[in-house]
């Protein structure tokens, strides 16, 4: 991580912030997508996370914590996007409805579609912890730091989330 870029952005240098953002936008978007399971909401959550990062950067004490700090903002933005979606009454489409329109294809892509649909049936916290673990390969200790919960809680939540996901995937098969 470029500590200098973070420090410059923290001091109000917008070019530095833009460089930081461009380096991370793919990752942030994918993490958002894995939590909100919807491209429009992932776009909103990504934008919200970066705007929040810019506004709150002056309060980031330790530049080396930028990555974990940004991930926390992303998780929070994605949760907010999910809440907003609930208020809008968006209906989740079951995976089998999507798959029936696609015909036979690459199994891993079908699994991706199933996963997206199954994630839609989990709570925001479960989606977040699964994405941090399976998509971003974050160690348990780092997930604890990002979600601001104890190590043991991460483990038990991850276990429960994994069970819930497999159950949701099974229902959609």
């Amino acid at each position: 991580m470029d500590r200098t870029l973070v420090e410059r952005a923290r001091d109000g240098d917008m070019d530095a912030f833009e460089a930081l953002m461009k380096e991370r936008i793919d990752r942030v978007y994918r993490l958002s997508l894995a939590i909100v399971a919807n491209e429009a909401d992932a776009r909103d959550a990504t934008q919200e996370a970066f705007v929040a990062a810019w506004r709150q950067l002056p309060r980031l004490r330790d530049a080396d914590r930028f990555e974990a700090w940004l991930s926390r903002l992303v998780v929070n933005s994605a949760r907010m996007a999910l809440r907003a979606r609930r208020r809008r009454g968006v209906r989740e489409i079951p995976a089998h409805e999507i798959l029936s329109g696609l015909g036979a294809r690459d199994p891993s892509i079908d699994d991706g579609v199933r996963l997206t649909a199954a994630l839609g049936r989990l709570g925001p916290d479960q989606r977040a912890i699964l994405a941090l673990h399976h998509l971003e390969d974050r160690p348990i200790a780092e997930i604890a730091s990002i979600l601001d919960i104890p190590l043991g809680t991460v483990k038990s939540r991850l276990f429960t989330a994994r069970q819930a996901l497999v159950r949701a995937l099974g229902d959609d098969s």
Binding site: R10, D11, G12, M14, E18, M21, K22, I25, D26, Y29, R30, L33, A34, E39, A42, R43, T46, Q47, F50, V51, W54, R55, L57, P58, R59, L60, R61, A104, S108, I109, D110, D111, G112, R114, L115, T116, G123, P124, D125, Q126, H134, L135, P139, I140, A141, I149, P150, L151, G152, T153, K155, S156, R157, F159, T160, Q163, V166, L169, G170, S173
Partner: protein, 485 residues
Amino acid sequence: MSQHAWDDERLGRAYTSLAGHQPPRDLTTGIMTAVRASGQVHRHVPAFATRPRWLALGAAAVLVVALVGFVPGALPPGPRGHAHLAVGGIELDYPSHWTLHDQGWAATGRGSPWAILGTLPWDPGCDAGDINCYYREKLQPGTVTVTIGGFASNVTILDTDLENAISRRATIAGMPAIVYDRGRVPGNYYEADLDLGWQIASPESPAQFVTIQAMMRGPGVAELRRDVEAVIASLHFTRPLPSIPPSPGSAVHAVRIAAEALLARDVEARESAGEDASSIYSCLPESLGGSGRATVAYGPGGWLGGPIHVECTATIESIQNLWWRVTFFVVSGDGSTRPGARYTETMWLTPIGDRATTSDEGEVPPALITSGPGAAAAAARAVAIALDNLGSSTPDFYGCFPREPGASRTATISTDPTGLTHYRATRALCSTRVEPKADRSAWRLILTATWKATGSAPAGRLVATLDVDAVGQSGPPIVTGDPIP
């Protein structure tokens, strides 16, 4: 279509297919447009009309001032001889001959600094954005410096201990505050003759503070103090202060708010743990002040490893007519590894029931390990969690052991249980065994690695024994046997 079960590998591939998604092309532009519109710090608008050198500019200047007044966000001038500052949700007036710095510095150990006011000249060599450069400046004779900032604590202002003799409680801008008068601190780096401080609760939460520190050096300390105290007297919050109406219905309202707050915690716990989970928050008493009982599987930190009985009480109090304080008190009972353990959660709510801050004390310990049907599955689950956790730090040793109790496998070890890495790999047979402890507080996990002699390296055996509780938390391993070659 059905493939294998949803194991780690298949799940990993499915997540990888999500990783192929790219953000929309115009998203970068959209973000930067939003960032530019958002701003990072509050800006000060000078009080033109109060400064004599501006008055000479005549009618044209008056017109400019009038126009500035219509700019959205522009602030009205302060009283004569004073300038006005709006920052961080507060507004105040300060002597117009003081200078203002509000460059939006990074947070420091003193919290987040918003603005620095006063008569202390800054070293011209200092970058205006470098707060530490300012912190190095010593006071010069007859100068004052006032640092204004924000600070979020995990302790509310009402629970903050007073420092004997130098602090007292007060009300500033309608909110609870603590005032510090440290007088002249011997050996003070800044050479201040007077060091004053204010910590004021913000309307958002009793655990968020506006902090103000004023240091001054004589001569003229009395006059400088008056100036600073006038600044504090002018301070007010831009948002309305919280207020609990003293109406006859407020008690009924309070009960409803407390119940809703606890039910909301229950919903949050269920969102994390699953709809069918029974969390401690489901242990709602029938009435405030009464006690409730429940059998629960989820505590404040998550899964408890099995069902335990809990007894709980809840109270609500109006605190200074500003906030509600809901206290939820849980005692663990049968099924717990430590019956009688206490957990207290304190929620501070705004008058309309929004949660302002939450703190907790104590814990809800995990459940006893199960000894009946399902014991083997429960042990396997806890062992898998424990090995995953241990393996995240020393994968080359704990990664050798199978997750299933009673199983063995051959793998390569290059690290000992303490994480010390060896320069050669040892092929070892690793077996996992588990047995319940007599008091059912945990399983005893016994990990045995054996290896044959190769070349000059002798055969050996190493055993790591550790306790694993029902949620998979493990104690420190006790390691005996031979050193890994």
